[in-house]
Protein backbone atom coordinates (compact mmCIF):
# COMPACT_ATOMS: atom_id res chain seq x y z
CA UNK A 1 0.00 0.00 0.00
CA UNK A 2 2.69 2.48 1.06
CA UNK A 3 6.16 1.76 -0.13
CA UNK A 4 9.13 3.99 0.69
CA UNK A 5 12.38 3.30 -1.16
CA UNK A 6 15.78 4.79 -0.36
CA UNK A 7 14.27 8.06 0.85
CA UNK A 8 16.67 10.93 1.47
CA UNK A 9 15.78 14.38 2.76
CA UNK A 10 17.06 17.18 4.95
CA UNK A 11 16.96 20.85 5.77
CA UNK A 12 19.21 22.95 3.56
CA UNK A 13 22.65 21.37 3.67
CA UNK A 14 21.90 19.26 6.72
CA UNK A 15 20.89 15.79 5.55
CA UNK A 16 18.63 13.98 7.97
CA UNK A 17 17.49 10.87 6.12
CA UNK A 18 20.05 8.63 4.43
CA UNK A 19 18.11 6.15 2.33
CA UNK A 20 15.14 5.01 4.40
CA UNK A 21 13.00 2.17 3.07
CA UNK A 22 9.85 0.81 4.63
CA UNK A 23 6.60 -0.83 3.68
CA UNK A 24 3.07 -0.59 5.04
CA UNK A 25 0.78 -3.29 3.69
CA UNK A 26 -3.02 -3.29 3.63
CA UNK A 27 -4.55 -2.98 7.10
CA UNK A 28 -1.25 -3.20 8.98
CA UNK A 29 -0.01 -0.87 11.70
CA UNK A 30 3.67 -0.09 11.36
CA UNK A 31 5.41 1.74 14.18
CA UNK A 32 8.44 3.93 13.57
CA UNK A 33 10.64 4.17 16.63
CA UNK A 34 13.96 5.67 17.61
CA UNK A 35 15.55 8.19 19.90
CA UNK A 36 15.05 11.93 19.63
CA UNK A 37 16.56 13.49 16.55
CA UNK A 38 17.01 10.36 14.46
CA UNK A 39 14.66 11.65 11.76
CA UNK A 40 11.23 10.19 12.58
CA UNK A 41 9.27 13.39 12.02
CA UNK A 42 11.41 14.26 9.01
CA UNK A 43 10.56 10.86 7.56
CA UNK A 44 6.80 11.42 7.97
CA UNK A 45 7.03 14.97 6.61
CA UNK A 46 8.86 13.68 3.56
CA UNK A 47 6.36 10.87 3.04
CA UNK A 48 3.59 13.52 3.07
CA UNK A 49 5.47 15.94 0.83
CA UNK A 50 5.84 18.70 3.40
CA UNK A 51 9.58 18.32 2.83
CA UNK A 52 10.87 17.47 -0.65
CA UNK A 53 12.67 14.16 -1.06
CA UNK A 54 16.17 14.69 -2.42
CA UNK A 55 16.41 11.03 -3.49
CA UNK A 56 14.34 7.88 -3.35
CA UNK A 57 10.63 7.42 -3.87
CA UNK A 58 7.28 7.21 -2.12
CA UNK A 59 4.67 4.96 -3.71
CA UNK A 60 1.07 4.88 -2.51
CA UNK A 61 -1.29 2.20 -3.83
CA UNK A 62 0.95 1.59 -6.81
CA UNK A 63 1.24 5.26 -7.72
CA UNK A 64 4.48 7.22 -7.46
CA UNK A 65 3.60 10.25 -5.30
CA UNK A 66 7.16 11.46 -4.64
CA UNK A 67 6.65 14.72 -6.49
CA UNK A 68 3.03 15.43 -5.53
CA UNK A 69 1.97 18.29 -3.24
CA UNK A 70 0.80 17.38 0.28
CA UNK A 71 -2.84 18.21 -0.54
CA UNK A 72 -2.73 15.93 -3.60
CA UNK A 73 -1.46 13.09 -1.42
CA UNK A 74 -4.30 13.71 1.05
CA UNK A 75 -6.83 13.51 -1.79
CA UNK A 76 -5.34 10.17 -2.87
CA UNK A 77 -6.15 8.74 0.57
CA UNK A 78 -3.18 9.51 2.80
CA UNK A 79 -4.23 11.07 6.10
CA UNK A 80 -1.68 12.89 8.25
CA UNK A 81 -1.80 13.98 11.88
CA UNK A 82 1.37 15.99 12.49
CA UNK A 83 3.24 16.25 15.77
CA UNK A 84 2.08 18.60 18.50
CA UNK A 85 -1.73 18.34 18.27
CA UNK A 86 -2.00 21.09 15.67
CA UNK A 87 -5.31 22.74 14.85
CA UNK A 88 -6.53 25.93 13.23
CA UNK A 89 -6.80 27.78 16.56
CA UNK A 90 -9.26 30.51 15.56
CA UNK A 91 -11.63 28.21 13.71
CA UNK A 92 -14.29 26.42 15.70
CA UNK A 93 -14.02 22.68 16.14
CA UNK A 94 -16.80 22.31 13.56
CA UNK A 95 -14.99 24.56 11.08
CA UNK A 96 -11.78 22.63 11.63
CA UNK A 97 -13.62 19.51 10.52
CA UNK A 98 -15.61 21.23 7.77
CA UNK A 99 -12.57 22.77 6.14
CA UNK A 100 -11.03 19.33 5.76
CA UNK A 101 -14.28 17.77 4.61
CA UNK A 102 -14.74 20.39 1.89
CA UNK A 103 -11.19 19.79 0.66
CA UNK A 104 -11.67 16.01 0.49
CA UNK A 105 -12.67 14.35 -2.77
CA UNK A 106 -15.85 12.72 -1.41
CA UNK A 107 -17.35 15.70 0.54
CA UNK A 108 -19.66 13.26 2.26
CA UNK A 109 -21.10 14.80 5.46
CA UNK A 110 -21.56 11.38 7.05
CA UNK A 111 -17.76 11.14 7.26
CA UNK A 112 -17.97 13.96 9.79
CA UNK A 113 -20.42 12.06 11.95
CA UNK A 114 -18.28 8.94 11.72
CA UNK A 115 -15.21 10.86 12.88
CA UNK A 116 -17.19 12.25 15.82
CA UNK A 117 -18.28 8.72 16.73
CA UNK A 118 -14.61 7.82 17.10
CA UNK A 119 -14.04 10.87 19.33
CA UNK A 120 -17.37 11.55 21.08
CA UNK A 121 -15.63 13.91 23.52
CA UNK A 122 -15.59 16.50 20.70
CA UNK A 123 -19.36 16.55 20.23
CA UNK A 124 -20.20 19.13 22.93
CA UNK A 125 -17.27 21.31 21.81
CA UNK A 126 -18.23 21.85 18.16
CA UNK A 127 -18.84 25.59 18.54
CA UNK A 128 -15.70 26.35 20.58
CA UNK A 129 -12.61 27.80 18.90
CA UNK A 130 -10.09 24.98 18.63
CA UNK A 131 -7.38 27.09 20.25
CA UNK A 132 -9.22 26.98 23.57
CA UNK A 133 -9.37 23.19 23.77
CA UNK A 134 -7.00 21.26 26.03
CA UNK A 135 -4.01 19.56 24.46
CA UNK A 136 -5.71 16.19 24.58
CA UNK A 137 -8.90 17.51 23.02
CA UNK A 138 -6.84 19.22 20.30
CA UNK A 139 -5.12 15.93 19.55
CA UNK A 140 -8.48 14.20 19.23
CA UNK A 141 -9.64 16.98 16.94
CA UNK A 142 -6.47 16.63 14.87
CA UNK A 143 -7.15 12.91 14.45
CA UNK A 144 -10.85 13.44 13.73
CA UNK A 145 -9.91 15.99 11.09
CA UNK A 146 -7.70 13.46 9.35
CA UNK A 147 -10.46 10.82 9.54
CA UNK A 148 -12.97 13.13 7.87
CA UNK A 149 -11.10 12.71 4.57
CA UNK A 150 -11.69 8.90 4.87
CA UNK A 151 -8.01 8.02 4.47
CA UNK A 152 -6.94 4.51 3.56
CA UNK A 153 -3.62 5.10 5.29
CA UNK A 154 -3.37 7.17 8.47
CA UNK A 155 0.02 8.61 9.41
CA UNK A 156 0.32 9.67 13.05
CA UNK A 157 3.26 11.52 14.59
CA UNK A 158 3.47 10.90 18.35
CA UNK A 159 -0.26 11.15 19.04
CA UNK A 160 0.21 10.76 22.80
CA UNK A 161 3.07 13.16 23.35
CA UNK A 162 2.42 15.76 26.07
CA UNK A 163 -1.17 14.68 26.67
CA UNK A 164 -2.90 13.94 29.95
CA UNK A 165 -3.06 10.21 30.77
CA UNK A 166 -6.86 9.94 30.77
CA UNK A 167 -6.99 11.06 27.13
CA UNK A 168 -3.97 8.97 26.13
CA UNK A 169 -6.11 5.93 26.90
CA UNK A 170 -8.93 7.20 24.69
CA UNK A 171 -6.53 7.94 21.85
CA UNK A 172 -4.96 4.52 22.20
CA UNK A 173 -8.39 2.89 22.10
CA UNK A 174 -9.30 4.89 19.04
CA UNK A 175 -6.14 3.76 17.27
CA UNK A 176 -6.88 0.16 18.20
CA UNK A 177 -10.45 0.41 16.96
CA UNK A 178 -9.46 2.02 13.66
CA UNK A 179 -6.81 -0.61 13.17
CA UNK A 180 -9.26 -3.38 13.94
CA UNK A 181 -11.61 -1.88 11.34
CA UNK A 182 -8.88 -2.38 8.76
CA UNK A 183 -7.27 1.05 8.48
CA UNK A 184 -3.56 0.88 7.65
CA UNK A 185 -1.40 3.11 9.84
CA UNK A 186 2.10 4.42 10.10
CA UNK A 187 2.73 5.54 13.64
CA UNK A 188 5.64 7.32 15.27
CA UNK A 189 5.67 6.46 18.95
CA UNK A 190 8.26 6.92 21.68
CA UNK A 191 6.71 4.62 24.28
CA UNK A 192 7.82 1.06 23.81
CA UNK A 193 4.95 -0.53 25.70
CA UNK A 194 2.39 1.39 23.67
CA UNK A 195 4.12 0.41 20.43
CA UNK A 196 4.23 -3.22 21.57
CA UNK A 197 0.51 -3.22 22.24
CA UNK A 198 -0.52 -1.60 18.97
CA UNK A 199 1.93 -2.42 16.21
CA UNK A 200 2.03 -5.34 13.80
CA UNK A 201 5.57 -4.52 12.82
CA UNK A 202 8.14 -1.85 13.54
CA UNK A 203 10.98 0.12 12.02
CA UNK A 204 13.71 1.54 14.23
CA UNK A 205 15.57 4.54 12.92
CA UNK A 206 19.03 5.52 14.00
CA UNK A 207 20.85 8.56 12.59
CA UNK A 208 18.62 8.74 9.54
CA UNK A 209 18.89 5.06 8.61
CA UNK A 210 16.78 2.00 9.31
CA UNK A 211 18.71 0.26 12.07
CA UNK A 212 16.26 -2.53 12.60
CA UNK A 213 12.88 -3.67 11.40
CA UNK A 214 10.67 -6.65 11.85
CA UNK A 215 7.57 -8.07 13.48
CA UNK A 216 6.36 -6.68 16.79
CA UNK A 217 7.47 -9.74 18.78
CA UNK A 218 11.10 -9.00 17.95
CA UNK A 219 10.86 -5.65 19.71
CA UNK A 220 11.68 -7.33 22.98
CA UNK A 221 15.18 -8.27 21.86
CA UNK A 222 18.20 -6.85 23.63
CA UNK A 223 19.64 -5.19 20.52
CA UNK A 224 16.39 -3.31 20.05
CA UNK A 225 16.47 -1.97 23.60
CA UNK A 226 19.96 -0.67 23.00
CA UNK A 227 18.74 1.31 19.98
CA UNK A 228 15.88 2.85 21.90
CA UNK A 229 17.58 3.57 25.23
CA UNK A 230 18.31 7.23 25.87
Amino acid sequence: MLSVEGLEAGYGRARVLFGVSLEVTEGRLVCVMGRNGVGKTTLLNTIMGVLPATAGSVTFEGRDVTRLRPDERVRLGMGYVPQGHETFPQLTVMDNLMVTLEASPHRDPTALEEALEVFPRLKPLLKRPAGFLSGGQQQQLAMARALVTRPRLLILDEPTEGIQPSIIIEIEEAIERLHAAGLAMLLVEQYLDLALRLADSFVILDAGRVAHSGAAEELRGEQVHRLLAV
Binding site: Y80, T87, F88, Q90, E102, F132
Partner: protein, 284 residues
Protein backbone atom coordinates in the same frame (compact mmCIF):
# COMPACT_ATOMS: atom_id res chain seq x y z
CA UNK B 1 -16.36 74.79 15.74
CA UNK B 2 -17.81 74.12 12.35
CA UNK B 3 -14.30 73.55 10.99
CA UNK B 4 -13.70 70.89 13.60
CA UNK B 5 -16.90 69.11 12.65
CA UNK B 6 -16.11 69.41 8.97
CA UNK B 7 -12.95 67.37 9.53
CA UNK B 8 -15.04 64.44 10.74
CA UNK B 9 -16.37 63.22 7.36
CA UNK B 10 -12.97 63.94 5.81
CA UNK B 11 -11.17 61.83 8.39
CA UNK B 12 -13.75 59.04 8.26
CA UNK B 13 -13.74 58.83 4.48
CA UNK B 14 -9.94 58.78 4.33
CA UNK B 15 -10.08 56.07 6.98
CA UNK B 16 -12.58 54.19 4.82
CA UNK B 17 -10.25 54.35 1.81
CA UNK B 18 -7.31 53.24 3.96
CA UNK B 19 -9.42 50.37 5.18
CA UNK B 20 -10.19 49.17 1.66
CA UNK B 21 -6.49 49.30 0.83
CA UNK B 22 -5.35 47.74 4.08
CA UNK B 23 -7.78 44.80 3.86
CA UNK B 24 -5.94 43.43 0.84
CA UNK B 25 -2.55 44.07 2.36
CA UNK B 26 -3.38 42.52 5.70
CA UNK B 27 -4.55 39.32 4.01
CA UNK B 28 -1.63 38.96 1.62
CA UNK B 29 0.79 39.85 4.41
CA UNK B 30 -0.95 37.78 7.06
CA UNK B 31 -1.50 34.76 4.84
CA UNK B 32 1.57 34.69 2.64
CA UNK B 33 4.04 36.96 4.40
CA UNK B 34 4.20 39.03 1.23
CA UNK B 35 4.90 42.74 1.54
CA UNK B 36 3.40 43.89 -1.74
CA UNK B 37 4.70 47.35 -2.61
CA UNK B 38 2.83 47.21 -5.92
CA UNK B 39 -0.47 47.20 -4.04
CA UNK B 40 -0.60 51.00 -4.37
CA UNK B 41 -0.55 50.67 -8.15
CA UNK B 42 -3.69 48.54 -8.00
CA UNK B 43 -5.36 51.60 -6.44
CA UNK B 44 -4.07 53.66 -9.32
CA UNK B 45 -5.31 51.07 -11.82
CA UNK B 46 -8.76 51.18 -10.22
CA UNK B 47 -8.81 54.98 -10.41
CA UNK B 48 -7.85 55.00 -14.08
CA UNK B 49 -10.52 52.37 -14.74
CA UNK B 50 -13.06 54.83 -13.33
CA UNK B 51 -11.54 57.56 -15.51
CA UNK B 52 -11.88 55.44 -18.65
CA UNK B 53 -15.43 54.39 -17.81
CA UNK B 54 -16.75 57.77 -16.66
CA UNK B 55 -18.86 58.19 -19.78
CA UNK B 56 -20.33 54.71 -19.24
CA UNK B 57 -21.30 55.17 -15.62
CA UNK B 58 -19.75 55.51 -12.22
CA UNK B 59 -21.35 52.43 -10.68
CA UNK B 60 -20.10 50.20 -13.49
CA UNK B 61 -16.58 51.35 -12.66
CA UNK B 62 -16.75 49.64 -9.26
CA UNK B 63 -16.96 46.00 -10.42
CA UNK B 64 -14.76 46.81 -13.41
CA UNK B 65 -12.02 48.27 -11.20
CA UNK B 66 -12.33 45.30 -8.87
CA UNK B 67 -11.80 42.98 -11.83
CA UNK B 68 -8.95 44.96 -13.42
CA UNK B 69 -6.99 45.35 -10.18
CA UNK B 70 -7.81 41.78 -9.12
CA UNK B 71 -6.50 40.31 -12.36
CA UNK B 72 -3.38 42.46 -12.09
CA UNK B 73 -2.79 41.07 -8.59
CA UNK B 74 -3.41 37.53 -9.77
CA UNK B 75 -0.96 37.90 -12.66
CA UNK B 76 1.66 39.42 -10.35
CA UNK B 77 1.26 36.53 -7.93
CA UNK B 78 1.43 33.85 -10.61
CA UNK B 79 4.27 35.36 -12.63
CA UNK B 80 6.56 36.67 -9.90
CA UNK B 81 5.59 36.58 -6.25
CA UNK B 82 4.97 32.84 -5.95
CA UNK B 83 8.59 32.17 -6.85
CA UNK B 84 9.69 34.24 -3.88
CA UNK B 85 7.54 32.85 -1.06
CA UNK B 86 9.47 32.70 2.20
CA UNK B 87 11.79 35.51 1.07
CA UNK B 88 10.03 38.67 2.29
CA UNK B 89 12.88 41.09 1.61
CA UNK B 90 13.34 39.92 -1.96
CA UNK B 91 9.58 40.17 -2.46
CA UNK B 92 9.61 43.71 -1.13
CA UNK B 93 12.29 44.79 -3.62
CA UNK B 94 10.66 42.87 -6.43
CA UNK B 95 7.21 44.37 -5.92
CA UNK B 96 8.70 47.84 -5.47
CA UNK B 97 10.28 47.40 -8.91
CA UNK B 98 6.92 46.29 -10.30
CA UNK B 99 5.37 49.36 -8.71
CA UNK B 100 7.80 51.67 -10.55
CA UNK B 101 7.20 49.86 -13.83
CA UNK B 102 3.43 50.19 -13.42
CA UNK B 103 3.70 53.91 -12.60
CA UNK B 104 5.74 54.47 -15.75
CA UNK B 105 3.27 52.40 -17.75
CA UNK B 106 0.48 54.68 -16.50
CA UNK B 107 2.51 57.74 -17.52
CA UNK B 108 2.96 56.30 -21.01
CA UNK B 109 -0.70 55.36 -21.34
CA UNK B 110 -2.44 58.35 -19.76
CA UNK B 111 0.25 61.05 -19.66
CA UNK B 112 2.10 62.42 -16.66
CA UNK B 113 -0.37 65.18 -15.65
CA UNK B 114 -3.23 64.30 -13.34
CA UNK B 115 -6.64 63.68 -14.82
CA UNK B 116 -9.98 64.45 -13.23
CA UNK B 117 -12.91 62.13 -13.01
CA UNK B 118 -16.17 64.07 -13.06
CA UNK B 119 -18.25 62.93 -10.10
CA UNK B 120 -21.75 61.77 -11.00
CA UNK B 121 -24.36 64.45 -10.32
CA UNK B 122 -26.13 62.35 -7.69
CA UNK B 123 -23.02 62.49 -5.52
CA UNK B 124 -22.84 66.29 -5.47
CA UNK B 125 -24.11 68.22 -2.47
CA UNK B 126 -24.75 66.71 0.89
CA UNK B 127 -26.72 66.75 4.12
CA UNK B 128 -25.45 69.14 6.79
CA UNK B 129 -21.75 68.63 7.26
CA UNK B 130 -21.85 65.32 5.37
CA UNK B 131 -21.07 65.56 1.66
CA UNK B 132 -22.64 62.78 -0.40
CA UNK B 133 -19.36 61.73 -1.98
CA UNK B 134 -17.73 61.14 1.43
CA UNK B 135 -20.84 59.32 2.68
CA UNK B 136 -20.70 57.13 -0.42
CA UNK B 137 -17.07 56.21 0.29
CA UNK B 138 -17.94 55.29 3.87
CA UNK B 139 -20.86 53.18 2.69
CA UNK B 140 -18.59 51.47 0.19
CA UNK B 141 -16.13 50.55 2.93
CA UNK B 142 -18.89 49.30 5.23
CA UNK B 143 -20.32 47.15 2.43
CA UNK B 144 -16.90 45.77 1.58
CA UNK B 145 -16.14 44.89 5.19
CA UNK B 146 -19.50 43.15 5.57
CA UNK B 147 -18.94 41.27 2.32
CA UNK B 148 -15.44 40.21 3.35
CA UNK B 149 -16.66 39.15 6.78
CA UNK B 150 -19.44 37.08 5.25
CA UNK B 151 -17.01 35.58 2.77
CA UNK B 152 -14.54 34.61 5.50
CA UNK B 153 -17.11 33.26 7.94
CA UNK B 154 -19.93 31.93 5.80
CA UNK B 155 -18.34 30.30 2.76
CA UNK B 156 -16.13 27.25 2.31
CA UNK B 157 -13.58 29.20 0.33
CA UNK B 158 -13.35 31.78 3.12
CA UNK B 159 -12.95 29.02 5.68
CA UNK B 160 -10.06 27.63 3.66
CA UNK B 161 -8.52 31.09 3.53
CA UNK B 162 -8.68 31.44 7.31
CA UNK B 163 -7.22 27.95 7.72
CA UNK B 164 -4.28 28.76 5.45
CA UNK B 165 -3.74 32.05 7.28
CA UNK B 166 -3.63 30.31 10.65
CA UNK B 167 -1.46 27.33 9.74
CA UNK B 168 -0.30 26.95 6.17
CA UNK B 169 1.49 23.62 6.56
CA UNK B 170 -1.39 22.05 8.43
CA UNK B 171 -3.79 23.30 5.75
CA UNK B 172 -1.70 21.61 3.07
CA UNK B 173 -1.59 18.31 4.97
CA UNK B 174 -5.36 18.57 5.53
CA UNK B 175 -5.87 18.42 1.78
CA UNK B 176 -6.26 22.13 1.05
CA UNK B 177 -4.67 23.34 -2.17
CA UNK B 178 -2.88 26.31 -0.58
CA UNK B 179 -1.64 27.64 -3.91
CA UNK B 180 -5.20 28.11 -5.15
CA UNK B 181 -6.26 29.76 -1.91
CA UNK B 182 -3.33 32.18 -2.29
CA UNK B 183 -4.48 33.07 -5.78
CA UNK B 184 -8.01 33.84 -4.65
CA UNK B 185 -6.70 35.90 -1.74
CA UNK B 186 -4.51 37.91 -4.07
CA UNK B 187 -7.39 38.47 -6.46
CA UNK B 188 -9.75 39.72 -3.77
CA UNK B 189 -7.14 41.81 -1.96
CA UNK B 190 -6.00 43.51 -5.13
CA UNK B 191 -9.59 43.98 -6.27
CA UNK B 192 -10.39 45.86 -3.06
CA UNK B 193 -7.48 48.19 -3.79
CA UNK B 194 -9.11 48.82 -7.17
CA UNK B 195 -12.37 49.76 -5.40
CA UNK B 196 -10.37 52.12 -3.17
CA UNK B 197 -9.02 53.70 -6.36
CA UNK B 198 -12.53 54.37 -7.65
CA UNK B 199 -13.43 55.90 -4.27
CA UNK B 200 -10.43 58.22 -4.45
CA UNK B 201 -11.59 59.66 -7.78
CA UNK B 202 -14.51 61.20 -5.87
CA UNK B 203 -12.26 63.30 -3.65
CA UNK B 204 -9.26 64.13 -5.78
CA UNK B 205 -7.45 63.97 -9.12
CA UNK B 206 -5.98 60.76 -10.56
CA UNK B 207 -2.30 60.48 -11.39
CA UNK B 208 0.32 57.78 -11.98
CA UNK B 209 1.66 58.12 -8.42
CA UNK B 210 -1.76 58.09 -6.71
CA UNK B 211 -1.02 54.81 -4.94
CA UNK B 212 2.22 55.96 -3.35
CA UNK B 213 0.35 58.54 -1.23
CA UNK B 214 -1.69 55.84 0.45
CA UNK B 215 0.46 52.71 0.53
CA UNK B 216 2.56 53.76 3.54
CA UNK B 217 -0.49 54.72 5.60
CA UNK B 218 -2.16 51.47 4.60
CA UNK B 219 0.83 49.52 5.85
CA UNK B 220 0.61 51.47 9.12
CA UNK B 221 -3.00 50.34 9.42
CA UNK B 222 -1.96 46.72 8.87
CA UNK B 223 0.78 46.87 11.50
CA UNK B 224 -1.28 48.82 14.05
CA UNK B 225 -4.36 46.64 13.56
CA UNK B 226 -2.58 43.29 13.84
CA UNK B 227 -1.80 40.98 10.93
CA UNK B 228 -4.72 39.37 9.16
CA UNK B 229 -7.23 40.85 11.60
CA UNK B 230 -10.43 42.27 10.16
CA UNK B 231 -11.46 44.00 13.41
CA UNK B 232 -8.01 45.46 13.90
CA UNK B 233 -7.89 46.81 10.35
CA UNK B 234 -11.27 48.54 10.76
CA UNK B 235 -10.35 50.27 14.03
CA UNK B 236 -6.82 51.18 12.96
CA UNK B 237 -7.98 52.56 9.60
CA UNK B 238 -10.64 54.80 11.14
CA UNK B 239 -8.27 55.91 13.89
CA UNK B 240 -5.52 56.73 11.46
CA UNK B 241 -7.89 58.53 9.08
CA UNK B 242 -9.25 60.73 11.86
CA UNK B 243 -5.82 61.34 13.39
CA UNK B 244 -4.51 62.32 9.97
CA UNK B 245 -7.24 64.80 9.18
CA UNK B 246 -7.34 66.42 12.62
CA UNK B 247 -3.56 66.66 12.83
CA UNK B 248 -3.65 68.33 9.44
CA UNK B 249 -6.43 70.65 10.56
CA UNK B 250 -4.61 71.87 13.65
CA UNK B 251 -1.14 72.04 12.10
CA UNK B 252 -0.20 71.52 8.47
CA UNK B 253 0.19 68.61 6.08
CA UNK B 254 3.84 67.84 6.78
CA UNK B 255 3.65 68.29 10.55
CA UNK B 256 0.55 66.06 10.50
CA UNK B 257 2.62 63.24 8.98
CA UNK B 258 5.17 63.63 11.78
CA UNK B 259 2.43 63.51 14.40
CA UNK B 260 0.93 60.38 12.83
CA UNK B 261 4.27 58.59 12.65
CA UNK B 262 5.16 59.49 16.23
CA UNK B 263 1.76 58.29 17.39
CA UNK B 264 2.14 54.97 15.54
CA UNK B 265 5.67 54.44 16.86
CA UNK B 266 4.47 55.20 20.39
CA UNK B 267 1.53 52.82 19.97
CA UNK B 268 3.74 50.01 18.69
CA UNK B 269 6.07 50.48 21.66
CA UNK B 270 3.10 49.69 23.88
CA UNK B 271 1.55 46.98 21.67
CA UNK B 272 4.15 45.64 19.23
CA UNK B 273 1.70 42.97 18.05
CA UNK B 274 -0.96 45.50 17.03
CA UNK B 275 -4.51 45.91 18.32
CA UNK B 276 -5.55 42.31 17.82
CA UNK B 277 -3.55 39.14 17.50
CA UNK B 278 -4.04 35.41 17.14
CA UNK B 279 -4.35 34.26 20.71
CA UNK B 280 -4.91 30.76 21.92
CA UNK B 281 -3.52 27.98 24.01
CA UNK B 282 -1.98 26.52 20.91
CA UNK B 283 0.26 29.52 20.48
CA UNK B 284 0.96 30.42 24.07
Amino acid sequence: MEGVLNQLPIGLSIGAVLLLIALGLTFTFGQMGVINMAHGEFIMAGAYTAYLLQSVGFLIALPAAFGVAGVMGLVLERLLIRHFYGRPLDTLLLTWGVSLVLQQAARDLFGAPNVQVVSPTWLRGGVGILPYNRLFIMALAVLSVVAIWAYLHRTGQGRRMRAVMQNRRLAATSGINTGRVDQVTFFIGSGLAGIAGVALTLIGPVGPTLGTYYIVDAFLVVVAGGLGQLKGAVLAALGLGLLNSYAEFWSDASLAKVIVFVAIIGFLQLRPQGLFVLRSRALS
